[in-house]
């Protein structure tokens, strides 16, 4: 990717990661490394049934094991946290199970010991007795199921669109979002063709290689939590709420993360270690195993029924019904249902739109945000559907899309006009890179070739706040304080580049202080590709504030406007020695208007749009159903690329992750029990799975409200991958797959059905 700098030459330059040397030498700091004097290790005892009333928990044998410090149940937790329920949308999740368990793997007790092996052995000795209850696992069945996951719904109260659910009983619906634009019934009636298809996605896992880990230490009326979290400010506020303490008595520190991808958001282990540390008055660490990650958070499985009316090659009406499998606790699912739900019709200009999007409770591991916040599930459906219609109408898939694209200034389904969304430029660039207009060799014999494309978009979550502090020391060196978590996306480096651009210094000279809520100011969280835009704006404002204060200091010292006297000399002149600081502060929250409850309409749904497209070429072995992706091209609109090298890595990394979710990753359930909870049975992409030809690039674009024209990039590479592959398979062998993952077995069975020679089940 070409380097294209501006002004001071810091933005647009592929600065090497500030922490590069620390990471290649193995010395980068992770919570995983932390040990504190007197620390106890906790091992969680987990539910063995998917829905049941707890009759009794027998801890005698565990307590009797030599070396066990304590065995803790919810009764003990309640002595320090009387109302032990947390969650960003609903206060539905208990620190340990209360009365009932709602999924296999739910924490029901904890064993504490100084030796983690003893804690693990003792955890095996705890026996819980359950009265099993009827369970529900499928998101569509959960709409009408007699099995009810939660007796009473408990919205957190912070979101107005959840208020109507307060106290509701006999339902598994944790949010229903509706959008009405135009008249779909009339649109279908007047259409030349009407198509309806249903698509499904499976549960998959974030699987960061650093599993969840948190440490808490209490003392002097304060609590410090060291945690691998993407949301330190949220953790501080939520723990303070649980304890009834002011925020300033809770300190949350986050070093580097060994991957996050949306898993390490909100409260995961933090409330548990906090309560344990207060209970036993010793530091407590809990590190999950790889297996336990499968019992913590997954990506929503989904069912999407989509219906479109076409008139004269234009999509004139679209109806979307989406059911999101939220698992046993809402986590951030209701936000996904709404904030992503409203983009369900895709990046197309459609006059009549109806969306009904439902967040469902089921008796499975809770589901949350995973690199795309619901968007990959939606793009999978609407871009498969788009291709199926184009093929049925014998229209070129690129031309059909281009004829229907949402263009600048046109209203999206919410009524919000599109702005700074280079949808057409992305599609055109992708078509060029794929040589779309040229003849394509579709192979012969048992190896057939195909190609496919797909394009998706996403609205940034809003409204959210970021605050940053830029500190100029007396020698002129600069430190940035912000609560953005660098989990691998390179935010430390990119933010340093913004500071450096404003202050006209080298990005490499900026020190970035990692999140520590005693020191770094509030930030909503590192999620949803929001940081480059929101924190970026705050960082830029903070650096400008520092620059303005330096200029004021120069004026105060009688220096001429625009003086080039070095900063260190300004301090020297002012304080007569190397002393003092200049503190710049930046605070950013974009404008936003919430959608109307009944129609989903709003003049301002989002501060910015992300656009991502993928093109693939595949080879299908018709004797085995095996699909080989030989080429993968990603094109995105990221506004201006602050660090082109990191942007490219983010795009290709996201696309490869989505390749895993498309081709083979799937959490297998058997009656609510996960049967493949290990890396041996749940395969993620390895270096052997990378297409031989992989290419990522951005289009020339600018986000006018973003810092130096930039916006988010972390998720855009995921959008188009799954449908592009399904479209390419159809192109190769004429088989349409509508459920993920696209395994060789599924395709082979479909090929045999097409040959009127189906395999036995």
């Amino acid at each position: 990717m070409a380097t294209k700098t501006i002004g001071s030459g810091q933005v647009g330059r592929s600065v090497g990661r500030l922490e590069g040397a620390a990471k290649v030498t193995g010395r980068a700091e992770y919570v995983h490394n932390l040990r504190l004097p007197g620390m106890l290790y906790g091992k969680i005892v987990r539910s063995t049934v998917s829905h049941g009333r707890i009759r009794a928990i027998d801890t005698d044998a565990a307590r009797a094991l030599a070396g066990v410090h304590r065995v803790v149940t919810i009764a003990d937790i309640r002595t320090v946290v009387p109302e032990p329920f947390y969650g960003p949308a609903f206060h539905d999740q208990p620190i340990l199970a209360v009365d009932k368990v709602h999924y296999v793997g739910e924490p029901v007790a904890v064993v504490l010991a100084a030796d983690p092996h003893i804690a693990e052995a003792a955890a095996q000795l705890v026996v819980a007795d359950y009265e099993e209850l009827p369970a529900v696992y499928d998101e569509v069945e959960a709409m009408t199921s007699a099995a009810i996951v939660h007796d009473v719904l408990k919205p957190a109260g912070t979101f107005p669109d959840l208020k109507h659910l307060q106290g509701r009983q006999n339902t598994n619906v944790a949010l229903d979002f509706h959008l009405r634009r135009g008249d779909v019934a009339r649109g279908f009636a007047q259409a030349d063709h009407v198509f309806e298809h249903t698509f499904r996605t499976q549960q998959v896992l974030h699987l960061p290689l650093e599993p969840f880990v948190s440490v808490a230490e209490a003392g002097d009326g304060r609590l410090t939590i060291h945690t691998a979290s993407q949301s330190p400010s949220f953790v501080r506020i939520e723990i303070a709420r649980l304890l009834g303490w002011p925020e300033n008595r809770v300190r949350v520190k986050v070093p580097y993360l060994g991957g996050g991808f949306g898993a390490k958001l909100y409260i995961k282990l933090e409330a548990l270690v906090a309560a344990l540390a207060l209970l036993v008055r010793r530091p407590v660490k809990i590190s999950l195993t790889m297996e336990e990650q499968f019992y913590t958070l997954t990506k929503h499985a989904s069912t999407f029924r989509i219906k479109s009316g076409i008139k004269g090659g234009k999509i004139t009406a679209r109806q979307c019904e989406v059911w999101w499998n939220g698992g046993a606790y809402a986590d951030i699912g209701p936000r996904i249902t709404q904030k992503s739900g409203f983009t369900a019709p895709g990046p197309y200009d459609i006059e009549n739109v109806q969306i009904d999007s439902y967040s469902l409770y089921t008796n499975l591991t809770p589901a949350g945000a995973l690199r795309g916040f619901g968007i990959p599930q939606l793009v999978w459906a609407y871009e498969s559907h788009t291709d199926m219609m184009a093929r049925a109408l014998e229209l070129d898939p690129v031309a059909f899309r281009r004829d229907n694209l949402l263009r600048e200034g046109r209203p999206q389904a919410t009524g919000t006009p599109m702005k700074d969304a280079a949808i057409e430029a992305v599609l055109d660039r992708l078509a060029t890179r794929m040589n779309w207009g040229k003849a394509f060799d579709r192979g012969t014999g048992t190896i057939r070739r195909g190609r496919g494309i797909a394009i998706g978009f996403k609205a940034s979550i809003s409204p959210t706040t970021s605050i940053a502090i830029v500190n100029v020391a007396a020698d002129g060196s600069v430190t940035l304080y912000c609560s953005t978590v660098d989990m691998g996306q390179g935010s430390d480096t990119a933010n340093a580049q913004l500071v450096a651009e404003v202050l006209d210094i080298k990005a490499e000279s900026v020190t970035v202080v990692h999140p520590d809520t005693d020191v770094t100011p509030y930030d909503m969280a590192t999620l949803g590709s929001r940081s480059m835009f929101h924190m970026g704006n705050a960082v830029k404002l903070a650096a400008q504030d520092a620059r303005d204060k330096l200029a004021a200091l120069a004026r105060e010292l009688g220096l001429p406007e625009g003086t080039n006297v070095p900063v260190a000399e300004l301090f020297q002149k002012k304080y007569k020695m190397q002393a003092g600081n200049i503190i710049g502060v930046g605070s950013y929250i974009p404008a936003y208007a919430p959608p109307d409850h009944d129609t989903g309409q709003t003049p301002n749904a989002t501060p910015f749009w992300m656009v991502g497209a993928a093109g693939v070429e595949v080879e299908v072995d018709t004797e085995t159903g095996h699909v080989r992706v030989t080429r993968l091209v990603n094109v995105a609109d990221v506004g201006r690329a602050v660090n082109p090298r990191i942007v490219e890595t983010q795009l290709s990394g996201a696309a490869i992750m989505q390749l895993g979710f498309t081709m083979h990753e799937k959490i297998e359930f058997d009656g609510g029990q996960i049967v493949n909870a290990s890396l041996a049975d749940y395969k993620i992409p390895s270096i052997l799975d990378i297409p031989p030809d992989i290419h990522s690039e951005v289009v020339e674009a600018e986000q006018h409200s973003g810092p130096f024209g930039a916006k988010g990039v972390g998720e855009s590479g995921t959008f188009g991958v799954s449908p592009a592959i399904a479209n390419a398979i159809d192109d190769a062998v004429g088989i349409r797959l509508t459920s993920l993952p696209l395994t060789a077995e599924t395709l082979y069975r479909a090929l045999r059905v097409a040959q009127n020679d189906p395999l036995e089940e």
Partner: protein
Amino acid sequence: MSRTIHFTLNGKPVAAEIAPHQNLVEVLQQRFDLFGARESCAQGLCGCCTVLVDGSAVSGCLFLAAFADGSAVVTIEHLAAGGKLDPIQQAFIECGAFQCGFCTPGFVLMAGQLIGAHPDPDEDQIRHYLAGNLCRCAAYPEIIEAVKLAARNMRKGVE
């Protein structure tokens, strides 16, 4: 139950009292404050815990510490012990061959063994040699590039 083992660690003779069930990663972390080898999958499948024992890469999470008795153990921390980065580490930085960095030490050590065996590896050799190391951030294209660059620089250094 516990016993004392003796081995060389990053070139220095050391001793440690260990329990029979302890693996090498635990002992490196708890007795020697070396955190570059990390346990992740605990099944020897991800490569995050890679350690060199008598010159060969092993999965430290599956390698009982007792087996290290009498051997030479090298960890990622040894590579830049003199303050200067190894050519492979340098190439990983130059090519941006990591994101979160959790798997990076394993990749660097494995790449060293690869270049030792194949000083001029082609892409296929790189892919097959590194197939036992996983990177969830999927910096694989950059890792392939980094290994090629490191091999090139190391060949130049030898010539």
